[in-house]
């Protein structure tokens, strides 16, 4: 018998998942690329200034399929007009000419866009960043054990308490039922079957508070760069703590030779001049802790940013006060923004502090904010395993 000229068939393709699998691999690679760029992203201005609400677009250059190709912007192309085109007519403005009509627009993938832009929300970024970080769980507070019971309305049922009736859904059901009966209005009235009730679940949440005591040197030697670094750091740190604690408060203390509590805005924008006495900030911090944030209730995280240019005679007092602060807090962090690698008097004093609660980090460039975050909140070995 001769072979038929054609066969029409329809198979079950549901197990053919190759496209999706490779798509997944591509997405994984995008994530990897983002991860590799984390140090840069952490200090990315558009994120820090966005208050963390927006989706940010991140250029990822490593995900293109690179090949030898022509420079599209420098080469000539051929197109077709409606019959009245003239030399000098503008057919498209900057960027790419719009993709051609017809199916399978053939010859070239659209060049012009020279990097792959991934969209990522700040939450996703956080997830990635925070997966590398951990709270130094030095001392569990009893308060972590305290729980509060809350109720959440999160379900809709056909039976329930009349007081919890869901009017909108009930009307909707009634409308649907009437429409099904060929009567698209509420004339048919509401039947028992239409009634919908909200119901709740009881949830228990741990009741925990944390306070960050952000201290910053605002003396003349702290410039825009130094402040930006501190700002990015506190931005991420607060967000990180919020994932661990129900409520996180921040107290801003600016200091030069004297310390005072300021608003967030003033903290990051106002510059002052003069010398530096760091112990003033520590004393202020202690004062605030003792009056407002009892260590019995709060997890306290004092962090101090400075360029390390402290009055030499003050250093000894600093070490002593830091010791006091550590007694009350979960940890104490000292970040030194030292762009030009100067000799730091404060750091030389802190070198001798030997306490697991004390952590320090030197930041020389923007990308190192990430390093600071991972130093302060480093995952311990057992946590990694």
């Amino acid at each position: 018998m001769k072979e038929p000229m054609f066969i029409v068939s329809q198979e079950d393709w549901s197990l053919h998942r190759k496209g999706y699998q490779d798509q997944l691999r591509h997405q994984e690679k995008v994530k990897e690329a983002i991860k590799q760029n984390l140090p840069d992203l952490v200090s990315e201005e558009s994120i820090i200034m966005s208050n963390g609400r927006d989706v940010v677009k991140i250029p990822i250059r490593s995900l293109d399929e690179y090949r030898f190709r022509y420079n599209y912007n420098k080469s000539k192309q051929v197109g077709q007009g409606n019959g009245d085109s003239k030399v000098g007519d503008v057919i498209a403005r900057d960027g790419d000419p719009a993709a051609g009509a017809g199916k399978g627009s053939g010859a070239g993938e659209d060049p012009g866009q020279d990097y792959y832009e991934a969209e990522i929300s700040v939450e996703e970024l956080e997830e990635m960043l925070f997966s590398e970080m951990e709270l130094p769980n030095l001392k569990r507070k009893d308060q972590n054990q305290i729980t509060v019971t809350d109720i959440e309305f999160n379900d809709i049922r056909k039976k329930g308490l009349m007081g919890n009736i869901d009017k909108k859904r009930t009307i909707l059901e009634a409308l649907k039922r009437n429409a099904r009966a060929g009567n698209p209005s509420l004339k048919g009235g509401i039947s028992v079957d239409d009634l919908r009730y909200k119901t709740w679940d009881e949830v228990t949440k741990p009741h925990s508070n944390a306070v960050v005591i952000a201290m910053m040197d605002t003396s003349g030697s702290m410039g825009i760069f130094e402040k930006y670094i501190a700002r990015s750091f506190f931005f991420w740190m607060t967000r990180f703590l919020r994932t661990k604690y129900e409520k996180v408060e921040i107290v801003f203390i600016a200091h030069h030779t004297e310390a005072k509590e300021v608003t967030e805005e003033a903290f990051f924008s106002k510059g002052e001049s003069g010398g530096t006495i760091c112990s003033s900030a520590y004393r202020k911090a202690l004062e605030i802790i003792d009056s407002r944030y009892s260590p019995a209730v709060y997890n306290i995280y004092p962090f101090h940013f400075s360029d390390g240019d402290n009055l030499t005679s003050d250093n000894e007092r600093c070490v002593k006060l830091v010791g006091e602060l550590m007694k009350r807090s979960n940890m104490f962090g000292y970040g030194e923004v030292n762009q030009y690698n100067r000799h730091s008097t404060l750091m030389s004093a802190y070198k001798h502090v030997n306490d697991p609660k004390f952590k320090h980090c030197i930041i020389r460039e923007k990308g190192e904010v990430y390093k600071a975050l991972t130093t302060f909140f480093k995952k311990t070995e057992e946590a990694k395993a």
Binding site: S9, Q21, Y66, F68, S75, Q80, V87, A101
Partner: protein, 476 residues
């Protein structure tokens, strides 16, 4: 698809097949497979249902699928150059859509079977690719997913640089070692010095001597097949790596004729779907839907060339010209009236896009289709030329080497240090520097020694060099 729908479709295909055969189209047995959108898009992204896995295919699959989901574009059909010929129809196509597609696909298959550019393609590629994919999967298990992926990244980065010519399939030279060369022909006989008395013979010997002292060229002629060259002569490639290069090269050789005949192939298929559907009894509604579909397919674009549209117009033009030759053509070239059909069948057999455009894109056509050349001036893309020769030549240039830059291996032992020296044959279009600087490391990854690429930027010769760490450039 319901049984009744399937019966209707089969009846329609039967009819279309008969009409197509009546027109003289000559195709392989057909296998029509009805599949859902994500499957068609998978095939579209991979170029073949059985092709190996790589993230770049996943990327284009995602993009194509997204455009489909958003209603921006739609693939109705996919056809594979094989014997028997596979055609995939989108589940949910209307009957009239399928009629158009079946007619279109039959003409594609006729083109695959008869165009000379396809004369060497492997018609069992579906199975070959499945076997290759299976081997690559094995390599992933044996040598690690990442290792294989990295190697594929590099190999795919230079996949277009093969030699697709129909006449020269393999290298006709081998790499000579310098020592074997020096000892060759040096055996001295007892009375050899006597030859020195003969002036002619002495001259010949001196020439030979001089030739011997010249550095030998390797390869002896510039080599276009970069992929094969690397596969054969790169130091320290493992067997599986060589195999992957062979796979990538083989698949590119298979796809190459399709790159070379895009305008012709789509033009041919569109020409025939129109002719075939005209022969069919369509209802009023079907006629309107067909007209809409057809108009969508052959819609011209201001910023690119729609191969369907240009192709079909050119075939129609050729048919018209050969049906009604002028007095002069009849007299001087001996053309007879009414040979249009015969002529277009000849064109579909012998031409590729380049010769097709160069031979048959005439002033009449360029004016009729209102074609122009445009370029970027400042921030605007502006029409720069409307002269028909300029348009034709620009189109031809853009189709040279499948639209990819023409690179050759100039020296496989550059600086006598085993370095690789590539040359871009500049034809008026500059390379994308950013891409070049990212691709050169791929070549290095394969060659494992310093690689160089010579090209032209702003009328100056520039040499890019990648030594494994950094890419430098210097003017020559």
């Amino acid at each position: 698809m319901a049984a009744e729908d399937k019966r209707q479709l089969e009846r329609a295909i039967d009819e279309i097949t008969e009409i197509a055969k009546g027109f003289g189209l000559d195709f392989y047995p057909m296998r029509y497979e009805i599949c859902p959108a994500d499957i068609i898009y998978t095939f579209g992204a991979y170029g073949m249902p059985t092709r190996f896995s790589h993230w770049s295919f996943g990327k284009s699959f995602h993009r194509m699928k997204l455009q489909y989901d958003l209603g921006l574009s739609k693939i109705y059909e996919l056809v594979i150059n094989s014997n028997p010929c596979y055609a995939f129809l989108l589940d949910g196509n209307t009957l009239i859509q399928n009629k158009l597609i079946v007619a279109h696909v039959l003409a594609h298959c006729d083109f695959f079977k008869n165009n000379v550019r396809f004369s060497k393609t492997n018609r069992e590629m579906v199975e070959s690719m499945a076997a290759s994919a299976e081997r690559i999967r094995q390599y992933e298990i044996l040598y690690g997913k990442h290792e294989v992926e990295n190697f594929l990244d590099a190999a795919l980065g230079i996949q277009e640089h093969i030699d697709p010519s129909l006449v020269k399939p393999q290298f006709d030279y081998v790499k000579e070692d310098s020592d074997t060369r020096n000892t060759k022909g040096q055996r001295k006989g007892l009375y050899d010095d006597l030859w020195g008395l003969d002036p002619e013979e002495r001259e010949r010997r001196e020439k030979e001597e001089a030739k011997k002292n010249q550095p030998v060229r390797f390869p002896p002629r510039p080599e276009k097949d970069l992929l094969l060259f690397i596969e054969q002569y790169a130091q320290g490639l493992q067997d599986w790596q060589q195999d992957i290069l062979t796979i990538v090269r083989g698949e590119m050789l298979y796809f190459w004729p399709q790159l070379e005949t895009k305008i012709m192939n789509e033009g041919w298929a569109s020409y025939w779907h129109q002719r075939i559907l005209r022969e069919m009894e369509l209802t009023e509604r079907e006629t309107i839907e067909f007209a809409k579909l057809n108009a969508g397919v052959v819609q011209p674009s201001t910023t690119s060339i729609n191969p369907y549209y240009l192709g079909v117009k050119m075939f129609e033009y050729i048919e018209r010209k050969w049906d009604n030759p002028t007095e002069e053509e009849q007299h001087r070239l001996g053309r007879k009236k009414g040979e249009g059909r015969k002529k277009i069948f000849e064109v579909r057999e012998l031409d590729s896009d380049i010769s097709f455009l160069r031979n048959y894109l005439t002033k009449e056509l360029v004016d009729e289709l209102d074609m122009y050349v445009f370029a970027k001036q400042g921030n605007d893309w502006t029409i720069t030329e409307k002269l028909w020769e300029g348009v034709r030549d620009q189109l031809v240039v853009s189709r040279v080497n499948g639209g990819f830059p023409y690179l050759t291996v100039e020296n496989g032992d550059y600086l006598r240090n085993g370095e690789l020296y590539l040359k871009h044959h500049f034809e008026g279009m500059e390379l994308d520097i950013k891409y070049l600087e990212r691709t050169l490391p791929y070549v290095h990854q394969l060659w494992k020694k310093t690689v160089h690429l010579e090209t032209t930027i702003e009328d100056r010769q520039v040499l890019f060099t990648h030594d494994g760490k950094k890419t430098h450039r210097r003017f020559l």
